[in-house]
């Protein structure tokens, strides 16, 4: 049973129910929700709210977990806000196996560090890539073409990704 004290905020967005939990409680909340019948983690991703003035965001990164109860067909979105350099949150890959790759992707694209993930490596970008492309301060079209001369010069500069 998920206890109300874990829930910071709740609402409905365009017909989808959501709750917000504190990032340090996200794992506990998801574990409790799994016990409530939300067995499937449909996807897990992150939204970067850098310079978004449409609302007053508590932190820059918003982790989004979409859960589904396969019996009642109910869906619930769990949000958790994180900040920091690097931003961190507990991994849920042992609770929900599909989260394994989703968390790797979110690390790859946003640089969120999932504490306790068994193999947190880049998944879509090359292993030696620098930066996290889906962050809003990562320029579109600014990257160096791979295997070009500039790329050779550019990739030798940093010690490691």
């Amino acid at each position: 049973m998920i206890v109300d004290s874990l829930i910071v905020d709740r609402g409905v967005s365009a017909g989808d129910a959501w709750i917000t939990v504190a990032s340090e409680n996200a794992r506990d909340a998801l574990s409790a929700l799994k016990g409530d019948g939300y067995q499937l983690l449909v996807f897990l991703t992150c939204v970067d709210h850098l310079a978004d003035r449409s609302r007053d965001w508590p932190a820059r990164y918003e982790l989004v977990y979409q859960l589904r109860n396969l019996e009642t067909r109910e869906q619930l979105r769990v949000r958790a806000f994180v900040d920091g350099d690097p931003p961190r949150i507990d991994s849920v890959s042992d609770l929900f196996p599909p989260a394994n790759w989703d968390e790797r992707e979110t690390y790859d694209m946003f640089g969120i560090v999932f504490t306790g993930h068994p193999d947190l490596t880049r998944i879509l970008m090359p292993d030696d890539w620098v930066g996290h492309p889906l962050r809003r301060d990562y320029p579109v079209g600014g990257e160096v073409v791979e295997f070009s001369e500039e790329h050779e010069a550019w990739r030798t500069a940093p010690e490691k990704a």
Partner: protein, 416 residues
Amino acid sequence: MADGAGESVSSEIGQGITIAKTGEPGAFGGELLTINFGPHHPSTHGVLRLIVDLDGEQVRRLKPVIGYLHTGIEKQAEALRWQQVVVVTDRHDYLSPPINNLAYALAVERLLGVDVPPRAEALRVIMSELTRLSSHLVWLGTSGIELGASTMLMYCFRERDTILDMNEEISGFRMHTSYIRPGGVMADATPRFLEMLDRFIAKMPSNIDEYEDLLTMNPIFRSRTIGIGRLPAEDAKVLGATGPMLRGSGVAWDLRRSMPYSGYENYDFEVATSDLCDCYGRYLVRIKEMREAVKILRQALDRLPDGPVNIDDRKVLPPPREELETSMEAVIHHFKLFTEGYTVPPGDVYVAVESGRGENGCYVVSDGTHKPRRVKFRAASFVNLQPLERMAMNHMVADMVAIIGTADAVLGDVDR
């Protein structure tokens, strides 16, 4: 931007691809051998690389390595206006463009709070089912060729070409149609399209019989697929598999039935399942789905309602060409839409549709501007690849080809 700017996290972050320790003893007196399967292997259906630990010829460990086809579609979507994103949705799962369009269009419509007219809904169903057929045909043809039935490819691509002709007739494009877009569809169906569709529906069941004649009782095909790549229902659910992967394990979960969208609740069709849980079961499910798709197409064509195919909202869709010559208002709307685009109220929404591969979802976040803040594609292939190790364990290398085949991952969808 690099991690080096903050505290050190290197102890938690792996160092990339690791090759298994060599010299580990196997069960047959030899050592485990680590090999690369792919990325440029014809049976990986794209550029999928598998690092496989072999004991003799048996698979002991398997690690998929993906990302070779990463094109940054989600990043591109953030730089495009709402109506332009449709074009990139075509390109992630390149075997089912209209279904990807549909997920995105439904998501944007939910945020805008608009409903499309009934004729648009029916046309969307027609295009979705045609796409499901063409996607299954590619799967059947390529799987056939991998398992020793090379005639299948010729048969399947014959029918697929008819479907591509219909795509061309209705949208002008053969593959990346961009036909379904927020607010409706690109254009109404032409009379010639409806005639082609009618002929196709009449012919297709006998074509599916032909495929079945070649494969269903074929001893080579059966021995290559029965009992291979078993994925029990519990495992399939836990690992998040969707689509034919899940239904091939006997779970009757189909989003068209379980969580209907675009008027699917009005169509009479069966959810194909199979309790075999193996590659052959997944084959049977896909064949059955093709037959059901033809049934849905027939119902949709017979009951195709009249009326407009787009919402009547000049803030979202451009005015008809004729009006531009007579109405100043229309010119202004046209100019605004093609220079600035439209804005979508702030909020986020997740819409899932059933593609040929499983749950194809689109999570859209709007910050109230004329470009999306975030577009996330929940790719069925990405999730369906994760049970691969479970399925291939202790099978022969050659069986891996059948297993990858029936997982039916489109690598463009995996890597986005």
